[in-house]
């Protein structure tokens, strides 16, 4: 790993360069009153003056709708057309926060453990992550409670941290980061004297995730779930803004003669997620579904994949129409 510096204006030059190479850049942009990740068309739209985007950058690796294959039928014969992965664009996630970058590991654990999900793996292969450390945080942030930090480099290929007004520390972390540097070495300055720590947001540690993990192990039948999930409306907002949540549905679209098979986002919070065709539903009420979300992130995923299913970005708390604040829920649970 090497450390260099880069000025704000040069960052833009780097991005221009990437755009000119037909790379797709996902970056935070202002949309109405919100800041959200979207493919960048004009550098004017770029913003870094935000705490957190509404949606995570997950969609760049795991799009809300993804074609898996096409089919066509003639008489009794069926022809399948496999998804062509050779033309997937090289893409850059720019302006991801360290928590977002940290989410790539658990996300890829889901998609690549045992059976490799080719589409995901191929996208990941073609993705470069340029993160920007957090200078500020809000009450919904809790990255430090789940082992991530505002200047964490995990998952990033290049991590930028603002030191002065327009001077950034650039940590080149991986080969892909190195490739970025090589793309335009003239944009980068020498390593700055100052370390980044003083410039990072202070995110207070609210809970100990290991204690949470241990307590959840015996808490399946805890009365806590029923009590705290009363307000939960059973929508998928938390899962859809979450950088880690990756449950999906597979649906065919078209007629029996011709069409495509699609994968689309789904959520364990939705009532029909686990419904059997027989009418039986193993998770028939919302508190069970709320428990599943907590359990899956903090208990099952660590046990299954050795990855925590949460990076403390706080998006679920911000998006929840019923203000089911995750930190509070966790804190309450730990005291329950």
């Amino acid at each position: 790993m090497q450390k260099r510096s880069i000025r704000r204006a040069q960052i833009n030059v780097l991005l221009e360069k990437l755009l000119s190479l037909h790379q797709v850049i996902y970056a935070p942009q202002k949309l109405g009153n919100q800041v959200d990740f979207a493919p960048l068309r004009d550098l004017q739209d770029l913003t870094l003056d935000h705490i957190q985007t509404v949606r995570s950058a997950k969609a760049a690796l795991f799009p809300p709708v993804e074609e898996l294959l096409r089919y066509q039928r003639a008489g009794v014969e069926t022809e399948l057309q496999d998804r062509d992965l050779t033309n997937l664009a090289e893409q850059v996630l720019f302006g991801t926060r360290p928590c977002d970058a940290a989410a790539i590991a658990p996300l890829s654990a889901v998609f690549t453990t045992d059976d490799q999900d080719a589409i995901f793996a191929r996208r990941l292969e073609r993705t470069t992550v340029i993160s920007v450390s957090c200078e500020r945080s809000d009450g919904d942030c809790f990255c430090t409670s789940v082992g991530v930090g505002p200047g964490d480099s995990r998952g990033s290929d290049l991590l930028l941290t603002r030191l002065q007004d327009d001077e950034y520390l650039a940590e080149i972390l991986t080969a892909k980061g190195e490739a970025l540097l090589q793309l335009a070495p003239e944009l980068f300055g020498p390593e700055p004297a100052e370390s980044k720590e003083a410039h990072l947001a202070k995110v207070q540690k609210r809970f100990d995730w290991e204690a949470l993990h241990d307590k959840l192990a015996g808490a399946f039948d805890h009365p806590f779930w029923l009590r705290t999930a009363l307000a939960c409306l059973g929508c998928g907002a938390c899962a859809y803004v979450c950088p880690v949540c990756s449950c999906f549905d597979i649906q065919d679209e078209g007629s029996q003669k011709k069409g495509r098979r699609l994968r689309s986002w789904d959520s364990c919070g939705l009532a029909l997620f686990t419904l059997h065709a027989s009418g039986h539903n193993p998770r028939s009420i919302q508190s069970q579904r709320w428990r599943q979300r907590m359990m899956h992130k903090f208990s099952y995923m660590p046990d299954q994949l050795q990855q925590l299913g949460c990076v403390g970005c706080g998006r679920c708390s911000r998006a929840c129409p019923a203000d089911m604040n995750l930190i509070e829920q966790v804190e309450n649970f730990l005291f329950a």
């Binding site: 949309l31 109405g32 009153n33 919100q34 959200d36 509404v54 949606r55 809300p64 709708v65 809000d138 009450g139 919904d140 029923l226 999930a229 009363l230 307000a231 409306l233 059973g234 929508c235 998928g236 907002a237 899962a239 859809y240 803004v241 549905d249 649906q251 679209e253 699609l262 689309s264 986002w265 959520s267 939705l270 029909l272 009420i285 919302q286 508190s287 708390s317 911000r318 998006a319 129409p321 019923a322 203000d323 604040n325 930190i327 509070e328």
Partner: protein
């Protein structure tokens, strides 16, 4: 505020209700629905302009039903939702108590007739920001409007928070979840999003109590409440009926009247 807390406390103490469904201060300046089950907790209840959730949405939830008879803290849209739900046979008289809020006063209502009277004398106009937004949309050319909704609805990722937050979306199997046949595409692509939101607007036509909870629930700030509010306003203008005003109401779009023109039937 004290009046609300007092009414809630009394309702619990006098066993008029087992749980008060109300608002409390939540996190990050947001408001939060709470379920007050003991008189002591009543002090958490509060009410302000940030209370945008429609609490009537909780009446049908099995876990909430298990708590016993609820009392709903009800600003006007919640009260209207209660009446509309009653008119659609989803609530029976006596199943719930309403602590109606207006001008800082709290009125305890248990009979539908009382609720109807209360609603009748409360103005039902839209919030000015919604009214202005609708007017802005009305002034657009069809092409501009198409563009507007195109860009708004394309963003939707179908988390269904709008549906979950809507007290009138109480179907146990929503149309999008009916798959034999699958009329509405499941994925959140532009076509699927359009079909979903237009279908929802149609399904709420004549039933929307214009609370705006759907739009507020949207994590992506898509103003979908404008669709249902506009349809509701049009129905009010054309048919004179308004959702959530009366229990025995004639639903403008689902009532066959013998004097209706019916040349189309035979």
């Amino acid at each position: 505020m004290e009046a609300l807390q007092k009414s809630a406390r009394e309702a619990l103490e006098n066993h008029k209700a087992k749980v008060i469904i109300g608002y409390s201060e939540g996190s990050g300046g947001r408001m939060r629905p709470i379920f007050v089950q003991s008189p002591a907790e009543a002090e958490k209840l509060t009410w302000n302009d940030r209370c945008t959730q429609n609490l009537a949405v909780y009446i049908a939830k099995p876990e909430v039903q298990k708590l016993g008879k609820p009392a709903l803290v009800a600003p006007l849209p919640v009260l209207r939702a209660v009446l509309q739900l009653a008119s659609e046979n989803q609530i029976k008289e006596g199943d719930l108590l309403v602590l109606a809020l207006s001008d800082g006063r709290v009125t305890e209502l248990s009979q539908f007739s009382e609720m109807e009277e209360f609603v009748a004398k409360t103005p039902t106009h839209l919030a000015s920001k919604d009214q202005e937004a609708i007017e802005r949309l009305e002034k657009m050319t069809p092409q501009e409007r198409w563009q507007y909704w195109q860009s708004e609805l394309t963003r939707c990722f179908k988390c269904y928070a709008c549906r979950a937050a809507c007290p009138m979306c109480y179907c146990s199997r929503c149309t999008v979840e009916c798959n034999q046949p699958q009329w509405i595409p499941v994925p959140a692509h532009p076509l699927g999003n359009w079909e979903w939101h237009l279908m929802r607007a149609m399904h709420l036509a004549g039933r929307c109590v214009s609370c705006g909870a759907c739009g507020d629930a949207c994590p992506l700030d898509i103003p979908i409440h404008l669709l249902t509010m506009k349809v509701e306003a049009d129905i009010h203008r054309e048919f004179g009926s308004q959702a959530g005003m009366k229990v025995q109401s004639e639903h403008a779009l689902s009532s066959f009247k013998v004097q209706d023109k019916e040349n189309f039937i035979i």
